[in-house]
Symmetry: D2
Subunit: 436 residues, 4 copies
Amino acid sequence: MRFYSVTEPVKYEGPDSTNPLAFRYYDPKRKLLGKSMAEHLRFAVCYWHTLCWPGLDPFGGETFLRPWHQAGDQMDHARRKADMMFETLRLLNVPFFTFHDLDIAPEGSSLKEFNRNVSTIASHLLKKMDETGVKLLWGTANMFSNRRFMAGAATNPDPDVFAYCAAQVKHCLDVTKELGGENYVMWGGREGYETLLNTDLKRELAQAGRFLNLVVDYKHKIGFKGPILIEPKPQEPTKHQYDYDVATVYSFLKANGLEKEVKVNIEQNHAILAGHTFEHEIALASALGIFGSIDLNRGDYQSGWDTDQFAMNVPELALALYEILKAGGLTTGGMNFDAKIRRQSIDPDDLLHAHVGSMDACARALIAAAKMIEDGRLKAEVDKRYAKWDEPKNQAMLHGKESLADIAGRVLSENIDPKPRSGRQEYLENLLNTYV
Amino acid sequence: MRFYSVTEPVKYEGPDSTNPLAFRYYDPKRKLLGKSMAEHLRFAVCYWHTLCWPGLDPFGGETFLRPWHQAGDQMDHARRKADMMFETLRLLNVPFFTFHDLDIAPEGSSLKEFNRNVSTIASHLLKKMDETGVKLLWGTANMFSNRRFMAGAATNPDPDVFAYCAAQVKHCLDVTKELGGENYVMWGGREGYETLLNTDLKRELAQAGRFLNLVVDYKHKIGFKGPILIEPKPQEPTKHQYDYDVATVYSFLKANGLEKEVKVNIEQNHAILAGHTFEHEIALASALGIFGSIDLNRGDYQSGWDTDQFAMNVPELALALYEILKAGGLTTGGMNFDAKIRRQSIDPDDLLHAHVGSMDACARALIAAAKMIEDGRLKAEVDKRYAKWDEPKNQAMLHGKESLADIAGRVLSENIDPKPRSGRQEYLENLLNTYV
Amino acid sequence: MRFYSVTEPVKYEGPDSTNPLAFRYYDPKRKLLGKSMAEHLRFAVCYWHTLCWPGLDPFGGETFLRPWHQAGDQMDHARRKADMMFETLRLLNVPFFTFHDLDIAPEGSSLKEFNRNVSTIASHLLKKMDETGVKLLWGTANMFSNRRFMAGAATNPDPDVFAYCAAQVKHCLDVTKELGGENYVMWGGREGYETLLNTDLKRELAQAGRFLNLVVDYKHKIGFKGPILIEPKPQEPTKHQYDYDVATVYSFLKANGLEKEVKVNIEQNHAILAGHTFEHEIALASALGIFGSIDLNRGDYQSGWDTDQFAMNVPELALALYEILKAGGLTTGGMNFDAKIRRQSIDPDDLLHAHVGSMDACARALIAAAKMIEDGRLKAEVDKRYAKWDEPKNQAMLHGKESLADIAGRVLSENIDPKPRSGRQEYLENLLNTYV
Amino acid sequence: MRFYSVTEPVKYEGPDSTNPLAFRYYDPKRKLLGKSMAEHLRFAVCYWHTLCWPGLDPFGGETFLRPWHQAGDQMDHARRKADMMFETLRLLNVPFFTFHDLDIAPEGSSLKEFNRNVSTIASHLLKKMDETGVKLLWGTANMFSNRRFMAGAATNPDPDVFAYCAAQVKHCLDVTKELGGENYVMWGGREGYETLLNTDLKRELAQAGRFLNLVVDYKHKIGFKGPILIEPKPQEPTKHQYDYDVATVYSFLKANGLEKEVKVNIEQNHAILAGHTFEHEIALASALGIFGSIDLNRGDYQSGWDTDQFAMNVPELALALYEILKAGGLTTGGMNFDAKIRRQSIDPDDLLHAHVGSMDACARALIAAAKMIEDGRLKAEVDKRYAKWDEPKNQAMLHGKESLADIAGRVLSENIDPKPRSGRQEYLENLLNTYV
């Protein structure tokens, strides 16, 4: 029984195509700024939302009825699901995938069994990867779905949960290495708390710090080359998530001396739930030297939770891609579609439409962002605005050659009386619209 | 011409009093946990909202028509306003006040003139302080109201603004020291940005880092003993404020090596605008070792800006005071009423009602929080929840005596399979309600 | 096997009791304003959250593991669940319960079977009701959980779903009548839409209007005496819920000529998600003549979805109860605990703690609200503020005796130049604090 | 002294122009769907934000320093400002303007004087209109800025304020008629409340109802042909604005029997503050038969207040314009730029850049929306989804030919068991992206 209605990979047909299952902008080999679109965008399909989410929400159950969610041998289902991942990658011409351990293999009745299941499926995946050339962008451990994690993973009040998580991450990192994963992600799932009435915040932060140190040490021990990525997230599932946003993650890394070891995997929906824009989080991570990778989706600005929709708004994506290009682009990172189709989108083909549309929107945004870089007018406006800082006396002031009293003396003696200059925001927004 | 309708200080009359200008709970000398209420709460009246805000909002002008906002000699008005501050403090029996430089003195036409004005009024304040025993909790420089600061103070694209601010802070810190201020506050006003299209985030963060270092160095140079406090604030006036919340400020301090030098002044309204609870921000600052002082007000959870209302909800205040007590209480810090009466509250006496009501609400909350501490049941519940972490093997794990692989080995060999325990949130909320 | 750890009903023991399973304020027979507390508050336990919710959230599965959620004969489980409802009511001394059809009986494989199951369990419930004297506050049909309703119930693009819903509501209304239900509730579940790209808003509103007319006609036909209640809700599960808030429901009722037939069941969490306060929605419904009943819970103001927590904040509840008392109190309505314990509260007793604590908080709030009414100072302040409107000439103006031109002429000839008076908000907030 | 740097009107130069003061898409005479772009879009420049807002925010003062905001004869300034309005209209080639009475003329010291000032400037405007062919889209009375309105206009507790407002609106409506205004707008300014503690909601709603009836009666009396428009707005300046959103306004109109007399002027920023999308509000108003006009701007989804930015996001505007076209287009209405440049945009030319950019964005969006209409695929998808409703038996059901019991009987006898169909949201979003 066929899952998707099509068997031929989606092709680039150019902007005038009216074929809904064709790329109109994503032309993987097209070169921009010296790299191909595929190299720039490094798309990844994710197991979690694309193949594991059954379409439920807090008010209703499963709508998708995927074949592998029916009764039957769970390992058979896991293999079927893996095959469907590769079929999806083939149809979409996407070079990477990502997974949680629990996405790929059934939990079984013990950690031992789970590890075995994960390893078994990993071998299956590896075979498929060898056949197809698809690569693993990153792996991660799901330490939030099972009820044992209801009060957190590393930050659990019960040290046995901490230990259990250590064992789970060890195995997942081993498997990720085995599959040649280019990064390893830690998403803080339930690392956070609901109420201080039952929480010792300081203890929990210390636990989290220890855990991350253990993982980093282990990564070095086994020679895993890629970066460890933390994915900031605010507000859910716990009210107070410890990895709130990029700045919070950085404060945590600095407090634990890990800011050279760990980078961030930034998601649009998480960014906006924290009160920031996506491009702010990218620019901040870049400024702090911890920019790693992207979870690509969009949140509904008017819904107070992760809606995880496929990103379709080209002007918004162009701003994000402009910041990514300015940050040096994705190196080991990628653009992982951590996005889910709406629960009413119950046809399998809806998965293809969603990816195709969002890949195309990213491609358009990349074309625009590349124009922004090449054209240089935006950068020139910014540089002009700060140009006076490049004067030697101001560089001296910036680099600590004058004391507060020195500067104050100079201001009074020279009668420095600064006059404001226009920020030109509307002009710049218009300029932006000429690229997209 | 009298401003307030009363001339006698507000007195403690006990819970049964129906006198609207009496304290029903705030009994300054009453001892709780070994200190008087006055010592615990360290209330401060603030110039900014109490005497300077004219009642305008984005849709309408001044409603209060304060005498010192009329035409006339601005220095005379400044003295009149200062006298009214001391009259307010006398009527409310409040031991501290706080100010921005611009609150106390007119700007004049140059920095020189402004400095002179500030110093003149400072002398007037000092005389009043000597007469009354009132103290200065902190001073701060207003570097956000004048249009010269429209694009930021230390983070301005124009280095002349940076220099100007250095000169302004120097003078304000000098004056704060002269008045015996117990702290000095930096509120990031317009340190932030509207759009990345015209902003170099990395440059601006470097500027901010330099500025704070200059201030800390100068503080030591002149022997100012109190801490420098940064007041976190998100979302306004700029969309992306650099001092978003406690975690962000900590990341900034760590990045600049200033986490031992600078503490935070936490405001309820700013906390909730950042998506946190007030008590979260206090507990986090305490855990990070940077808890300093409190700006006391309340935000409307349903309004997306600082409403800065007088705090009146006793159960909410009790949670905050419980965290403050657990953090060791206010040391050099205080509870500054950074709160404004509604713009329809145009009678001067409304100022008194607001302070009296909020002081009383804080006093009730303090009584409750002290009971929570003394009773010990809340703490016992938390300790019990984490008790297993105190076992030697778990302490060893927490302190790095085992590697990830060691722990994983142990989990598998010992078949560690943790079982969740109830978080008991509702029980604890009920318990809380027995104290308030 | 026992579910709860206690077998004796929770008793009133007075404010000084430290027994966590005692009422400290809820004394059902205590008279206030001429009615007993039990008559004022008319508490109801709800099946949905109390017995059916398994503790899942979008990031993790079931945590509660209720016996009736295990494998086994579903009708046996339904009877066991029903018995536990009555045990809960007995232990809490609560006089009412509420249900969705799907809460009480399994869906089976056809509507026919579902109807039969519902009727079977209804007979069981009726027997229990007769034995205990417990009453049914209201029944309602769940037309949102099953995937057939994913695109709405009455507003579904498929008329077969509309028809199916008609059949389901008919049966549920029949059963509610049979059980002596005092009201019948329509909650718009998925009546709303995700995107206009696939939605015909006008058609769907017409469908909703027809459906409500059908239900009202049928109610009269079978002689069901209680009101039909609509429960306003915004923002979830669909982004654009048609029954957004009280005003929106009223506009819908007026458009369909049903404003005399249908009232509203107002929930705190829904009120705040719509940007209003709970008391606003109550006061507005009262002003519009459609106030019916209350779903009692609290939302977290900082979470953008229904957190449905048990209400514990006495000052907030006092404001709501004051409006309810002013609206004439609950007549056929009640206070239904549409609240869920946190998913970490996995002990059955947590259910008891939650209800006891919230009932006590309501009782304290009722005592405060009754004082507010009896004391009369709040009302007197409001009346004084509007007193001038009671003057004959102003009544004439209000009742249309003058035209716009008449009034304008009078303003100019009499030089009417109104002066603002203080709104006294802080004084009134202090006054409020003397009652709670 | 010149205000703008240019003297030549902005021209259409086509998509490839890099002239920042040229239109790239707005070609006023270009025909789409049988009408010119100018006829479709009916742009209006507004006095309020474009010429009157001085650049202040709650944290700082004026930044723009407009010549007419300096000291001097206020009537001279008013004439200068009027001339600048016409210069702006000329440079932008915009055919309409809009005003508040207070925008065009100084308040003076009495209503009599204000009326006289307004009439004087109105004559000046009329002369300019005659010379240029520019028209007035609408006028409105500012009844929220002066402190006399701090507690509301028509809903004020003081009937003298109600009377004063009646007089003010009468004059403003007279003037609007005299200037040939195509509509008259009522924006509820401070019609709302801060706290129920000092508010009689029911009285205030009755006052508002009377006021609107007076205005409608007067409109007919003087033969003003255009519609009265209410502009819905939530959340500010009062916390509880009575005209929250389109549905709330409709409920108010129905309650007062005015739904045939009054339409709505919908603003994007107000729509999103109420929790809706812009296109939702347009579609709902159209479905209810009260769609009137548009206030064009954009809010920042992450700021909880009116940011009133110039709209620049083409995909978002395309959705709004598609709904407007489906609603039959703007008839007497228009697109009024109720948008303000950022307070850092202190160069007069920033006003031109803002309007040009947003006009161009609207033009692109109109081109896309026209394609959506012409292409017809979006509509076809929606029609197909509801097609079964067009079958005779379902039309019968919809139009009340069957009772609830009839339908229920049919469902059971025919075993109606509806199967869900995909909502195809992602496919439709992709399709949308082919138009923009």
